[in-house]
């Protein structure tokens, strides 16, 4: 266990002590105890930057299940480090923010921080595991802890609904991903990502390649809220705002992005990968941005905006995978997509985190998040307003903030798609820049709505629960830190390119690098009058026009029928599956023993008949049949006549007596076939059972005692005839297929020699195979005790008396 492992699981270990802190130090907010951990982790991960920048990776292995190839291999490379820094850095800020957001008197802080630490540890595990199974384990732990965090206010129905929805969707994707992992293992024989990447060339034409790809992408798309699985994210906004800021903007929803980036070296060369990742990403981008405008809840807008931004990053990763098709790095103009993806990933985490925190402040200080009630808050909360406007401008892609730079690079990447000469992109490729541009217009509009509807316009004090005022300082520090990062990255974009972006690109596109080479990332603030700049200008102009005329065209959204929305579809799917399975179960679980017997026997007939014909096993061999004498004939006729007449007898008494007659005839058969022990036992047992039947008959309730002949039912007749025929056919075939001699010869020879007896039956019962007898008498004892218990211990009767 190395320090790296300890760092990954330290949040999990630390969470054990949270309840102790909570109980012991009631006066101190529990968050203060949590805060040092993410800061320490952040510093620890910062300390690995020099190594990563020098093209080294830190790999530590801890044996977990070596026999199955499942070992906790922690690997820090550029991509993992980037995510680890995001997780710990924003984690620290979120913990700090939550100290002021959650009141220690009202909330159950112990559970909150336990869940949050669980999530932090799980997320670190996802991004730093090199073993796919270990990664999957952490992956499910993120789903699980996110479920707990969304349902944190579990007394609210909407929280529970949102938690359940996110759980169902992400676990569905997680399980699909597990399937993909197993398929990858079948193809490569290893769970290690490094080794799978090394073998990626060999598996490209494997028949399981495509299923594995689709399974893995299902996992990534559900986790990262891509179309059409994004529907859980808006409902997850029921979580406390620090949770939304942390999980649903900066970290968990980027786990899918991480997965796609991590496996790009494996799958990236496939055209299906390109079309799915880039296509779904760009659809998600426009879908999320268009529907964000419809929202009236601040966090709702932010949720849809997150969906849309995640789609943007996803489409960039998809487009970037095309870079794998071009050999020469120096002329490879498509790596810019990957650069843009990574840069936007960082930017999105900064501005979306601060926007969520600002929305939380507004909610906290006014009591509502509904933009129809808000307005004119600028004089009351100038700092929050500043945070929001910078965050929103960055999100909209306006200079001089970092969002502008990544948006420009996004446009560059999308425009270059049209220059690709693979996957039919010469013709269809034009769709990418067009959709991207339209989506950016909508992004601009909702970003403006977010700021200006909240902070400018008419102040409506009568609609607010509280008198608004600026948030306490502690609540403002984390968003201020994030927003200053937005500005810093905006002015000095190359601050990170050497230390983080280039190593992360090396992890995503390893095959493009020669030994010792590295990606040269240079993000220039000003790159001349290019087409991207004009696109941005167009976005701003059209965006302003549309924002001004918003009330006029917003009614267009009402044209979209509510019934067709994906949210309704999910609800109905859930309803259908419940009512459907209920109906199906009700259909066959009738509660009547008769129908269950019909199922069992029908299946018996079906399976045995099919087997008989399938294996061509039916065989009638009369070669070893002994002669049949007159006694056998007579007895057989007795048995047959007795059995059949039971079916047609009206009186139950007669049936019982006939049954006894059949039993006695069977004992005569035993006599005839020279089995005196059996004959004796059969006689006595038949007598006893007939007597017991008569007891039952005597005690039948008077009301049901009227005697009728058994009614004829076709199914019953068919099934009984079928069972009889099948059993007869099998008995005949078994008789005709004797493969070896019976072992009875041994008993004949050794009964006296070895067991000192002459009654072979008895010697077999008590000596050769006495073990059976031992348990048969146990069965008898249990039966008698059962009868004793049933009759003597009747609690109902005792209650009555």
């Amino acid at each position: 266990m190395s320090y790296l492992h300890l760092a990954i699981i330290s949040p999990l270990l630390f969470s054990v002590f949270i309840p102790i802190f909570y109980k012991k130090f009631i006066r101190i907010h529990t968050g203060w105890f949590v805060l040092p951990l993410p800061i320490l982790l952040f510093i620890y991960f910062l300390s690995t930057i020099p190594k990563i920048t020098n093209r080294q990776t830190v790999t530590e292995t801890f044996n977990w299940i070596p026999s199955l190839g499942v070992n906790f291999t922690a690997k820090v490379d550029g991509l993992g480090l980037l995510f680890a820094l995001l997780i710990t850095g924003i984690g620290a800020l979120v913990v700090f923010y939550s100290i002021y957001y959650l009141a220690k008197e009202k909330e159950r802080l112990n559970t909150f921080y336990v869940y949050l630490l669980l999530f932090m540890g799980a997320m670190l595990g996802v991004v730093l595991s090199d073993n796919l199974i270990v990664m999957y384990a952490f992956w499910e732990l993120t789903s699980f802890s996110s479920f707990l965090l969304i349902g944190y206010w579990h007394e609210r129905e909407k929280s529970r609904y949102g938690a359940q929805k996110s759980m169902l969707i992400t676990v569905f994707g997680g399980l699909a991903m597990l399937g993909g992992i197993i398929l990858l293992y079948i193809m490569t024989g290893t769970f290690s990502i490094t080794e799978i990447v090394a073998q990626s060339g060999d598996i490209f034409h494997h028949s399981l390649f495509l299923p594995a790809l689709i399974c893995v992408l299902l996992g990534a798309f559900t986790k990262s809220a891509q179309f059409p699985f994004y529907i859980w994210l808006p409902d997850a906004m029921e979580a406390p705002t620090p949770v939304s800021a942390y999980l649903h903007s900066a970290t968990m929803v980027k786990a899918g992005i991480y997965l796609v980036a991590r496996l790009t070296p494996v799958f990236g060369a496939s055209s299906v990968w390109f079309w799915l990742v880039a296509g779904v990403g760009i659809i998600t981008l426009i879908w999320g941005s268009v529907f964000a405008i419809r929202q009236t809840d601040l966090k709702g807008i932010l949720a849809f905006s997150t969906v849309s931004q995640l789609g943007l990053i996803m489409s960039l990763l998809g487009v970037g995978s095309a870079a794998l098709h071009y050999e020469a790095l120096s002329e490879n103009i498509f790596t810019v997509a990957i650069t843009a993806a990574i840069f936007h990933l960082i930017n999105h985490a900064t501005f979306k985190g601060s926007l969520f925190m600002a929305a939380g402040i507004v909610d906290h200080e006014t009591g509502t998040r509904d933009i129809r009630k808000l307005g004119g808050l600028m004089p009351f909360m100038p700092i929050t307003f500043t945070i929001s406007i910078i965050g929103a401008f960055s999100m909209a892609g306006l200079p001089p903030f970092n969002g502008f730079l990544s948006k420009e690079m996004f446009f560059t990447a999308m425009v270059r798609v049209t220059q690709m000469d693979i996957f039919n992109l010469e013709t269809l490729g034009i769709l990418f820049p067009v959709i991207a541009w339209v989506a950016s217009v909508f992004t601009f509009i909702y970003s403006m709505i977010l700021v200006f509807k909240t902070f400018t316009g008419k102040y409506q004090p009568e609609k607010l629960d509280k008198k608004p005022h600026e948030a306490p300082l502690g609540m403002l520090i984390p968003p201020v830190i994030l927003i200053s990062l937005v500005v810093i990255f905006g002015f000095f974009p190359n601050l990170l390119s050497e230390s983080l972006i280039s190593p992360a690109m090396a992890a995503i596109l390893p095959s493009l690098l020669n030994a010792g080479g590295e990606f040269v990332v240079h993000i220039s603030f000003w790159h001349g009058f290019t087409i991207e700049l004009f696109m941005t200008l167009g976005v701003i102009l059209l965006g302003i026009t549309l924002y001004k005329t918003l009330p006029k065209w917003k009614r267009m959204y009402d044209l979209v029928p509510e019934k067709l929305s994906l949210f309704r579809f999910y609800d109905r799917l859930l309803e259908w599956s419940q009512s459907g399975s209920y109906k199906v179960t009700n259909k066959y679980m009738t509660g009547s023993i008769h129908s269950y017997l019909v199922y069992i026997l029908a299946f018996f007939i079906f399976s045995l008949t099919v087997t008989l014909f399938w294996k061509d096993a039916f065989k009638l061999d009369t070669g070893n049949v002994s002669s049949i004498g007159i006694y056998e004939w007579v007895l057989a006729i007795f048995v047959v006549v007795g059995s059949i007449s039971i079916l047609f007898i009206k009186s139950r008494m007669t049936s019982i007596i006939l049954l006894g007659a059949v039993g006695y005839t069977v004992s005569l058969f035993y006599v005839l076939f020279r089995a005196p022990d059996l004959a004796l036992t059969q006689l006595v047992i038949e007598t006893i059972s007939v007597a017991l039947f008569l007891v039952c008959f005597y005690h039948l309730p008077k009301l049901q005692r009227y005697e009728t002949r058994m009614r004829f039912k076709l199914t019953n007749a068919l099934i009984s005839v079928g069972v009889g025929a099948v059993v007869t056919a099998i008995a005949l075939s078994a008789h005709g297929n004797k493969l070896f001699e019976a072992i009875s010869k041994y008993y004949v020879e050794n009964t006296y020699e070895k067991a000192a007896g002459q009654n072979m039956v008895n010697v077999i019962l008590v000596d050769f195979r006495g073990f059976d007898t031992l348990f048969e008498i146990t069965v008898l004892a249990i039966a008698s005790l059962g009868i004793y218990g049933m009759i003597k211990l009747r609690l109902n009767r005792r209650k009555e008396s």
């Binding site: 005196p676 022990d677 004796l680 036992t681 006595v684 047992i685 006893i688 017991l692 007891v695 067991a755 000192a756 007896g757 002459q758 009654n759 039956v761 008895n762 010697v763 019962l765 008590v766 000596d767 006495g770 073990f771 007898t773 031992l774 008498i777 146990t778 008898l780 004892a781 039966a783 008698s784 005790l785 009868i787 004793y788 009759i791 003597k792």
Partner: protein, 141 residues
């Protein structure tokens, strides 16, 4: 109501019972050489007791034979498992029987087989089980 007098039955049973009991013991002991054994012997003994039950009532029979049949069942199982496990003491597999001739002071030369003890367990269980069932059902209101 005047009690029906079934002196013929009672007298006949007194005689018959003796024969049936004797026959059942014979069937049990002869089991290793001739048809019979613990199972049928036990059933027949139980049959003799049932005959008693038919002739007299349950109270009388419990007075004549103060046996708790559930305990008899347990004793039978103990006999069977004890004989089976006894071989383990001699480092032999479970349920290995031993036999041989033993000289006893009163009875003289006697062939003894541990399988008989096992069979005795079966006998007790069968008597106990049959009687438990019949007595329980008979006592039920």
């Amino acid at each position: 109501m005047r009690k029906t007098n079934n002196i013929i039955l009672e007298t006949a049973v007194k005689v018959l019972l003796f024969f049936i009991a004797l026959y059942s013991v014979y069937i049990f002991t002869a089991g290793h050489y001739y048809p019979g054994g613990g199972f049928i012997g036990g059933l027949m003994t139980a049959g003799a007791i049932v005959l008693l039950l038919i002739t007299y009532d349950i109270k009388t029979v419990t007075k004549i034979l103060p046996v708790n049949y559930r305990i008899l069942t347990a004793i039978g199982l103990l006999f069977a498992i004890g004989t089976s496990a006894g071989s383990l003491i001699y480092d032999l597999p479970f349920l290995t029987h031993a036999f041989g001739d033993v000289h006893l002071p009163l009875l003289g030369e006697l062939s003894i087989h541990t399988a008989t003890l096992f069979d005795l367990g079966v006998y007790f269980v069968v008597v106990g089980v049959t009687m438990t069932i019949i007595q329980t059902i008979g006592e039920d209101e």
